[in-house]
Subunit: 358 residues, 2 copies
């Protein structure tokens, strides 16, 4: 297969691109690791496919590739980080490390981040907690594409949440999801295939249900998890709002319709209410609640019981959050990562522009 790449090839390429953009070696290594983890875990929309977008934002002066993130306020269990307009890919791990350190002494640590940018997959950051026998939580606000229930306006991002929970002999529970019915990446797949979207994913600019996978580009919106009021879209809206407030209002970042777009061809709002985009991350030591061994034993039991749940006829198994991504990771780290043709073209273009071999 032509567009099949090894992890190492893509990792080295991403690293070299970040270096050309001015990142330190340490930052380039970290940022490329976040992207590659995404590609390995099967979340194609958040891996190297994002690189060209980061390059364009950097060219537009909207990403600082030599940031010095710092803590601007703290208490024993909390901190606020100013990301210095850096890549979220490096700012969010910086914040998560602070949360982990605070959890070591205090039981839990919670860090709100402002003045950051797109942070890749939420899962990367919460999963950092796992090796410390901690639960990790991460969330971020994002460019407004989602209309609240009953509205025609795009006021929220797809605002993902990830909760990563360690287990004993079982692999960890990792739930990482956009608070919309469908993530934007799933729509992009349909767009490329020129296929229709299920009703409940997208609405037109008048707020009517549509199966047009290009609906958002034509002035419509993504719909909060739940699809419509009768099926609980007000709950999906509540979730997305929660993420926005924790990430934006608590940190001093922008929020709601003021969150700057991730694409360079759209200008950031002229009247910002904060700085950059915002994240919120947390770490909770498992043994701040009960002895580690007890927690792991019961977490294993929880996972086992749910994994063995009786299935509906025709369904193979109940999926434990984190299982599909881990299975992908096993396959892709061996067999390589298959990139979409458009992504390959994109990477070739930035390779040429920044004189990096690809």
């Amino acid at each position: 297969m032509n567009n099949l790449y090894t992890e190492k090839t893509l990792r080295d390429f991403a690293y070299n691109i970040f270096i050309k953009m001015g990142s330190s070696e340490q930052h380039a290594q970290l940022a490329s690791d976040v992207l590659l983890q995404s590609d390995l875990r099967g979340i194609d929309s958040h891996g190297v496919a994002r690189l060209s977008g980061y390059v364009r934002l950097w060219e537009a002066g909207r990403i600082n590739t030599k940031p010095t993130p710092k803590v601007i306020h703290e208490t024993p269990s909390t901190a606020v980080v100013d990301g210095d307009q850096g890549l979220g890919l490096v700012v969010a791990p910086y914040a998560m490390n602070i949360a982990i350190e605070k959890a070591k002494t205090c039981g839990t640590g919670w860090v709100a981040v402002k003045n950051s940018n797109h942070f890749g997959i939420a899962g990367y950051h919460s999963m950092m907690a796992l090796q410390h026998d901690m639960i990790g939580i991460s969330m971020t606000n994002a460019s407004p594409l989602v209309a609240p229930t009953f509205s025609t306006e795009r006021l929220l991002g797809t605002n993902p949440i990830c909760v990563a929970i360690p287990a004993g002999v079982q692999p960890p529970f990792v739930a990482d999801f956009a608070t919309t019915t469908a993530a934007n990446g799933k729509l992009e797949i349909l767009q490329r295939k020129n296929e229709k979207a299920p009703v409940g994913w997208v609405q037109t600019k008048e707020g009517e249900p549509t199966t047009n996978a290009h609906g958002v580009k034509e002035g419509g919106s993504l719909i909060p998890l739940g699809s419509d009021r009768e099926h609980g879209s007000h709950k999906g809206f509540s979730l997305g709002a929660w993420v926005d407030i924790f990430s934006g209002v608590l940190s001093g970042a922008n929020y709601g319709p003021w969150v700057p777009p991730f694409v360079s061809f759209l200008a950031p709002p002229a009247d910002p209410v904060g700085e950059g985009i915002g994240h919120f991350v947390g770490a909770m030591r498992v043994d701040a609640f009960r002895p580690k061994e007890d927690f792991f034993k019961h977490m294993d039991n929880w996972i086992n019981r749910f994994r063995q749940a009786q299935t509906i006829a025709g369904q193979e198994k109940v999926i434990i959050p984190g299982d599909p991504e881990r299975e992908q990771e096993k396959i892709r780290s061996k067999e390589g990562i298959l990139l979409n043709e458009m992504v390959v073209e994109d990477l070739k273009e930035i390779a040429k522009k920044l004189q990096v071999s690809f």
Copy 2:
């Protein structure tokens, strides 16, 4: 109207019932306040309608009405509370007060609770944080009625989450919701009217979609928020699982299918994996992140902007989480609380049984 009662009448009645059950004056006052707040806020399923169920569980020896909840483990920002088999209505506020105290010194406080019972509306507990200029979070696991995506088994409760966020001149943001497509209370309304449920709320015992509002009683299940896989029910399942693990596995309570039923006619599982049901509550001081005035100013701006969002033709307004309940509270505290005929019969029965006037 015959079944219209003043707040005071119902509050006094509930108080007297709890006293007859053996609660202390302080506990009876608190427990009746939790129920009345629910009735005032329009959540009929969690108010005095629950009283007879509590009485029956107490008669069955499954609720200790003279509990001494206590902290059995703690760190500066965390604690685990053993609820001593008490009413969740008094155990959860006890835990929330500890979370608030910890947040005062530490920035945030997080308390997992085991050996408790049904805690009423989640909103009551998180809203306790508001008067301290803190964000409140509460969640609980519950009797298993919900099937994971792709499963026919009832392994989770409706596992609600509430996040309450204070604002300045605006009323607080209070998102309080079951992690299913529809709360059980909504189904009960349809059952009484003998009406059909929308597809996506309930599945049959074989896991097929059904509009039968009595489907759960006939061996079927409630469906996680999202309704089906294509519309993100795996996300609703992830949310419900998150609540279950934080409430049950972290605390040492039961979890998943081992959570004891809320009804006395169903026996608790013979092989418990923990003690009672579990809750998880948290409090975060707003000024542990940024100056209070800044937070309130931006929270007001957030709420204003979303409240003024352009609506879809035919829709009156975008609903800010917490608005409908507050509007109900205004009306009902003036005009009284209208009880369903079956609830009135129920209350009369326990009035007679416990010799309390009604």
